[in-house]
């Protein structure tokens, strides 16, 4: 498979989560990283296009806000491009490494969001926007069950939400989740139990 043209690396946006990494062997990815380190701009583009969908959806699931997810996506890839020479394939796959960066950026974003700030809406006495509220267009795409699931995901604590998204959506193993979140696999398993139990309880409360 040629690595020259960007079009080979454009994922199907309809369901990029099912576009598993096994479709592209790891060796070409390492070759791609090497080409990036040799200052090939096309290689950077290809790397971005291959992983951007996964990272964007991960960020959206963790932050539950489109603008925040876009900002973190850009920030994460800027950081990853700058630190690509520090990527060690013996420690983790490229995808895990990118997820790790994205989760860290999401945590920073969430912490900044908690800082007291004043918006024009607050000054004008208007209702403060709920960061977990669905975008108007997304509202139309979901049925009632899915809206309830989205709200339930927002009610989880950040730690449980991270674990749930990485397990349910990214379908990572517990050692991989532990590496990304900086916890042991056993802790990841415990958190997943708690997340599943909490989601079930919240969803069963809904009429």
């Amino acid at each position: 498979m040629s690595l020259i043209s960007d079009s080979h690396w454009l994922p199907t946006w309809a369901n990029p989560a099912e576009e598993s990494a096994s479709a592209i062997p790891t060796d070409p990815l390492e070759v791609l990283v090497a080409r990036c380190l040799d200052n090939e701009e096309a290689a950077y583009h290809a790397l971005y296009h291959h992983f951007a969908g996964y990272i964007y959806r991960l960020c959206y699931g963790l932050l539950q806000n489109k603008e925040d997810a876009e900002e973190v996506l850009q920030d994460a890839f800027e950081y990853a491009f700058r630190r690509l020479d520090h990527f060690d394939p013996r420690k983790a796959s490229l995808k895990t490494w990118l997820y790790q960066i994205a989760v860290s950026r999401c945590r920073n974003k969430r912490r900044r969001r908690l800082l007291p700030t004043f918006s024009l809406h607050q000054v004008a006495g208007q209702e403060i926007r709920d960061p977990a509220a669905l975008q108007p267009d997304a509202h139309l795409l979901l049925n009632e069950r899915q809206k309830a699931v989205w709200r339930a995901l927002g009610q989880l604590s950040p730690k449980l939400r991270e674990t749930a998204v990485l397990r349910y959506y990214a379908e990572l193993t517990y050692p991989e989740i532990g590496r990304i979140l900086g916890i042991s696999p056993k802790t990841a398993e415990s958190r997943m139990r708690l997340a599943h139990k909490a989601l079930k309880a919240i969803l069963e409360e809904k009429p």
Binding site: W13, A14, N15, A17, C36, L37, N39, E41, Y44, H45, Y48, H49, A52, G53, Y56, R57, Y60, G61, A69, E70, L73, Q74, F77, E78, F81, R82, D85, H86, D88, L134, Q135, A138, L141, L142, R145, Q146, V149, W150, L153, A164, V165, R167, Y168, Y169, Y174, E189, M192, R193, H196, K197, L199, K200, L203
Partner: protein, 192 residues
């Protein structure tokens, strides 16, 4: 015949992949034969499927959205950085460097036994000596001042002028004396 034991409490862990192979087989065997547990398994599984499906729909990017967000590649220098060392290699390198620094500083230490000091520290001792005759209290920079002590490779002297003070002979040793050596008076021939 006793009814089979339900595996209700094992179903969540089974779905999350947290059971041992033996327990996993037990759940699968039981669920195959028990409609109630099968319904429960389906309900529990639906939670994970709903999360995945909801996230996929909500976070679907618009056409060209992600391409617009692509950051510019960094500008790298053509000098490739040194290969990233493993932590073990770094520790060994740091230990070697530390040993070299310690060896170097020890070898240069002036107090190290057996090391000859080519630049001995000059010891200055002030000795108040009784003189047989009044000594000149001329200051060293006085034109009439002449040191009457013959030049010596081991010491040099001059007599500083201090008003109201007894005559003093300042003996400046050129080479360090061994520890405990009393400060000797000037030789008699050198007394005025």
């Amino acid at each position: 015949m006793t009814p089979p034991t339900h595996v209700t409490n094992l179903i969540p862990d089974y779905l999350l992949g947290l059971l041992s192979p033996r327990e996993t087989k037990r759940v699968e065997t039981h669920v195959h034969a028990c409609p109630a547990c099968r319904r429960l398994l389906a309900a529990e599984r639906q939670i994970g499927q709903d999360v995945r499906q909801t996230l996929t729909i909500v976070s679907r990017p618009e056409s060209g959205q992600l391409a617009r967000l692509r950051p510019s590649p960094p500008r790298r220098t053509f000098i490739r950085p040194v290969a990233f060392l493993q932590s073990g290699q770094r520790l060994v390198a740091a230990a070697i460097l530390l040993a070299l620094v310690m060896i170097g500083s020890w070898s240069l230490h002036p107090g190290r036994p057996g090391r000859e000091n080519p630049n001995p520290q000059v010891v200055t001792a002030i000795a108040v000596t009784a003189t047989r005759a009044p000594t000149s209290t001329l200051a060293p920079d006085t034109p009439a001042y002449e040191p009457d002590v013959p030049p010596s490779p081991t010491y040099e002297t001059f007599r500083p002028s201090l008003p109201g003070s007894p005559a003093m002979t300042l003996v400046t040793m050129k080479t360090p004396l061994p520890a405990g050596t009393p400060i000797a008076a000037l030789p008699a021939s050198n007394q005025p």
